[in-house]
Structure formats: C-alpha cells, structure tokens
C-alpha cells in the first residue's frame, strides 16, 4: 500500500511566553511535530509493517520546518522518504490553504492509496485539514478514525464519535484523520535517528508544485492571551490537621 502521512510542525506549548501586552512570543519556542500528527505517522508505519507498502511523510510550512532535527524527527519514526513544501507564504496558513497545498503536493508525489492526517494540529486544532484534503483530492474522506484494518483495495475503519462507534468500509484511495488514541507513537531509537539522516528528503517551493494561487481564506485581527479570572489565592500549608480543618471550613462555606 502506498501511504502518505502528513504532519505539522508546531511550537512546543510549554515554551510559549505570554508578554505583558498579552501577545504570545514564540522566540524561545522549540518546534516539534504536532502530538496528534505523531499518531498519524505511527498509524501509517504500522500498516506498512503489517501488510507491506511504502510510507512517505509530507509537511508544509515556512523555513522553520526545514531543520535537520525536524527532518530526522519525522524520518526516524519510520517513513522511508520525506517531502516538504517550504515557502514563507505558508507561515500562519489556515486550514483551506494548508489543504490546497497538501493536495498539490500529493498530486505531484503521484500515486497513493491512503493519506493519513492527525485529528487536528496542536496549535490551531481546527480539525479540518485532513477532511478538506480528501475532498480536494476527490476521494473518500473520514475523520475520528480509531482503528484501521487493511482489506485489499479497501480499509475497514472504526470511527469513534461523541456517542457511538461506526464501522465503515472505505474504498481506497482515501484520506483519513486518526484519533490520538489509535496508537502509542514509538519513541525513535538512537539507531533510527542516525539512519533517518541518510533518508531522502525532497524540498519544494510553492512554485515547484504550482501552488502560488493557494491562499488563505481568513484574516486574523488579534491573537491574545485571555484575561485570567481573579482568584483568592489563599495558600494552606503546614500541619496536616490544621490544614485540613481550615480546608474543611472554606469548603463548607463555598458549598453553601
């Protein structure tokens, strides 16, 4: 099976600094593969391990994406090759722009049976890219996939919705978005990280995939940290009995 796994590079949430003017600063942020996308990569690699096939990884973004460390981070998880579309116009891409560019890149890569995306990106989490990509490629597309069983030119998938689980037969080619609990992504070994450095990486610009017309459909007015609710911030510590007695008193008042 020819599988393409997509991922987004996002800032580590723990490194995001909230400035005094409530804007966010990413200058200290380490960039990493989105945590939901790690499950997408793992799902693709597992299918290839079980039924055979090739796994290619694909990502789009600005030049942050194209670091040796991030390339290895993707390739050490199992894909045989990596394709990147790197262009400054892709900084802050919205979901439609991202899906368009991915669709052009997938078309240029050529034949595919299955494209796997994560449920959403760790930064914007709109949960839209995989769905839109499938529709743009004109193939079956489904989200919330929590189990995949390959079956010839089809896959049988379980789809975990809010209140029910569906079992669906999806005829390939298809684009699916997988849940974060579909698997536990492997932690690459040192050997896998070293081997990843030798794998093939193809880097395209937007022009290379004829994607200059792929533009965003949203305008951002502001992105600011929310106002914190004022809290009493009463701290209780020390002797267990005294602390619990005080806590009990406060709790009783709050429950009334």
């Amino acid at each position: 099976m020819d599988i393409v796994v997509c991922y987004k590079v996002v800032p580590d949430e723990q490194d995001i600094v909230i400035q005094v003017d409530q804007r966010l600063s990413f200058t200290k942020a380490e960039w990493k593969i989105g945590q939901y996308d790690q499950s997408a990569i793992e799902a693709g690699v597992q299918i290839a391990e079980n039924v055979g096939g090739k796994v290619l990884a694909l990502s789009i973004g600005n030049k942050t994406l194209d670091s040796s460390k991030l390339r290895k981070s993707a390739l050490s998880r199992g894909p045989g090759k990596l394709y990147l579309v790197v262009d400054e116009n892709l900084e802050g891409a919205d979901s439609f722009q991202t899906a368009q560019v991915l669709a052009k890149a997938v078309a240029k890569i050529g034949k595919f049976d299955l494209v796997i995306c994560g449920e959403g990106s760790s930064d914007l989490y709109a949960q839209q890219v995989g769905i839109q990509l499938g529709e743009l490629l004109g193939v079956a597309t489904i989200n919330a996939v929590s189990k995949i069983v390959p079956d010839g030119d089809k896959i049988i998938v379980e789809r975990t919705l809010e209140e029910e689980v569906e079992v669906l037969e999806v005829t390939l080619p298809a684009v699916i978005s997988v849940t974060s609990d579909i698997n536990l992504p492997r932690i690459p070994s040192l050997k896998e990280i070293l081997a990843a450095g030798k794998k093939n990486v193809t880097t395209w610009s937007l022009a290379d995939i004829e994607g200059q017309n792929c533009t965003r459909r949203t305008e951002v007015s502001s992105t600011l940290a929310p106002e914190q609710t004022d809290r009493k911030r009463i701290i209780l510590e020390g002797d267990l009995d005294a602390v619990v007695t005080q806590l009990y008193g406060h709790l009783r008042r709050e429950l009334q």
Partner: protein
C-alpha cells in the same frame, strides 16, 4: 451588531437545531434551517425561529449523515447564504470541512463568540491549546462556522410563527464509504459541561485504583469526576467524556476541586469559568496555585482521607 442577511443552520438533533435557530436569529435577518426528520420536526423548527426550512426528508439509517453533504452543497451553491452554522461535533466537522473545500473557504471552528465588527462577522476562538484567543474572520462570500451545543437558549415554540417548508430531493453521496455497523459506545453518559461540582484528577494520582479516593470525595460532595488529558488519553484510566480541557470538555462548575493537577494551560482553560477552584498539590511551585482560590500544599494521599473523615463526621 449589524445583522447579516441569510443565516443557514444545520444539526441532526432537534434541540441542537432549535438552539442554532435562536443563535441564527440574533446574527441574521432570515434564518433557513436544514432539517432531516419527520415533517413535524420541520414544523416545530419554524415555531422555534426558522423562517424557512429545507426539508431533507426522513432519515435513512443505512447511510451516515455525512452522505447528505453533496445535497447540502447544491443548496449552498445556488443560494449563497452569508453564514452556515453547525455544531462542533465530529460529524458536523466532517460535513463542514467537505463543504468548505468545495466552496473554497476555511471553516471557523469551535467559535466561542461572534464579535461586533461593523458589517463583518468576526469570531473568537481558542488557539495554542488555550494559551490565546484569536479573533478572525472569513473573507469568502459564504462563511461556515461551528459552535458548541448547549451554549445557547432555544426560543420557546410560538405557534403564530409562519415559515415556508421546501421539500428537497436528496441524492446520497457515492463517496466509497459503506456503513457496516453502528454501536453505542456503552459508556455511561456524563455531562461534565453541566456539572455544578467537579472533583478533577491529574497525574498526581499514582495508580488507577487511587481514583477511588477521588470518587469517595466526589460522592460526599455530590460532585462528578473530571480529569486531565493524560488520564483519559494517556493511561486511559477514565473515559474521554470526563476529560476537561482544550480538546475535551469545557466546564463551569460552582466548585472545582483539583487533586494532583499541575495547572497546565490546556487543562486550565476548561475550568477557567469555575466560580471557586480548590487545589491540592504537593509541589508548591505548581502553576495551579496561581489560579486557585484555595491552594493546599501537601500530599493528597494524606489530605483527602483526612478531609473525607471530617466530611463524614460533619454529616
């Protein structure tokens, strides 16, 4: 805010659809609802605020609801409303995404609030795991947005309201997806979003059986059990329905009792609306103490049993 012209609303469940109608009335001059169900449902939706219903007929249990997407697309392309409002659930997000790809737009997902911006329709929603709130707008003719269910009051039924019901011929998508089976998740339904008191547990709970301690406290307080993401999606000690935070449930209880929760932003955005936050954590540098009304620095395995003892004695 200046109203936009045509707002369309679509949800499967009657209650959710009625809620979207009420929201639609606030945003737009004319509300059109897309209804799947018996004709009586179409009539009810008119009484609850729709000016017009596109009636897609009785549901067909052999297909997934997403198979209505192309029929809905045909209507949208023909009429070009300013806004299509849907809910945040997985099915709605799939339908919204497929429609958006065809209409060449970006779906504004998980909208918290629509913002007054003259003739433009701006939305607020969380980004970066709740670290920020973004205000943005779609620059396309048709805008698609998803909002949470249970966040808006439906209008009371008004028998004097008049509206048109237009029957639509449905052609199901042949998208190579066949429904083989549908089963209930079998989890007890729990509504954390509506809970008045919640005992939340995080990684400070060492073993799965220790959740019993939190459950005992919750039972005495008349509270529901909630949790952070690792407990629902890492070690899977609790069902996902109890996970509070940015990709889980948003809660607004009167009292939130946090046990062994460090206070990561991804969780805190889900409890920010709590009236009172009580936190027990052994690490005095935990972020949660900055956002708690009462912060207890200490071992929850000592404090909770002692508190349970006092609560029982006080009964």
């Amino acid at each position: 805010m200046g109203k936009i012209n045509n707002v369309w609303v679509f949800a499967e469940a009657t209650e959710a659809l009625a809620e979207l109608c009420a929201r639609g009335r606030q945003l737009g001059e004319l509300v059109t609802a897309l209804v799947i169900g018996p004709q009586s449902k179409a009539e009810q939706i008119i009484r609850q605020g729709a000016d017009r219903v596109f009636w897609l007929g009785e549901p067909d249990s052999s297909v997934i609801v997403e198979a209505y997407t192309e029929t809905i697309l045909g209507l949208l392309e023909k009429e070009q409303p300013s806004l299509l409002l849907m809910n945040n659930n997985k099915r709605a997000k799939l339908i919204a995404g497929r429609l958006a790809a065809k209409l060449e737009t970006t779906v504004l997902t998980d909208v918290m609030e629509f913002v007054n911006a003259g003739d433009k329709l701006q939305v607020k929603h969380m980004v970066y795991g709740g670290a920020a709130i973004r205000i943005e707008q779609a620059i396309t003719k048709v805008c698609i947005a998803t909002v949470g269910a249970g966040t808006f009051e439906p209008l009371l039924e008004d028998g004097s309201r008049q509206g048109t019901i237009i029957s639509v011929e449905v052609i199901f998508d042949s998208k190579n997806i066949k429904l083989l089976e549908r089963r209930s998740k079998g989890t007890t339904s729990v509504n954390i979003a509506a809970a008045k008191r919640i005992v939340g547990v995080g990684r400070g709970i060492v073993a799965q059986e220790d959740i019993k301690l939190a459950e005992e406290l919750a039972a005495l307080l008349g509270a529901e059990i909630g949790c952070t993401r690792p407990l629902a999606e890492g070690v899977n000690w609790l069902p996902k329905e109890r996970y509070i935070g940015v990709s889980g449930v948003m809660s607004k209880p009167d009292v939130y009792f946090a046990l062994g929760i460090s206070g990561q932003i991804q969780h805190m955005v889900g409890i920010n609306q709590a009236k009172t936050i009580i936190a027990v954590n052994k690490d005095k540098n935990s972020l949660i103490f900055n956002q708690a009304d009462y912060g207890v620095i200490g071992d929850l395995y000592k404090i909770v049993p002692a508190l349970i003892g006092k609560l029982k004695a006080g009964l």
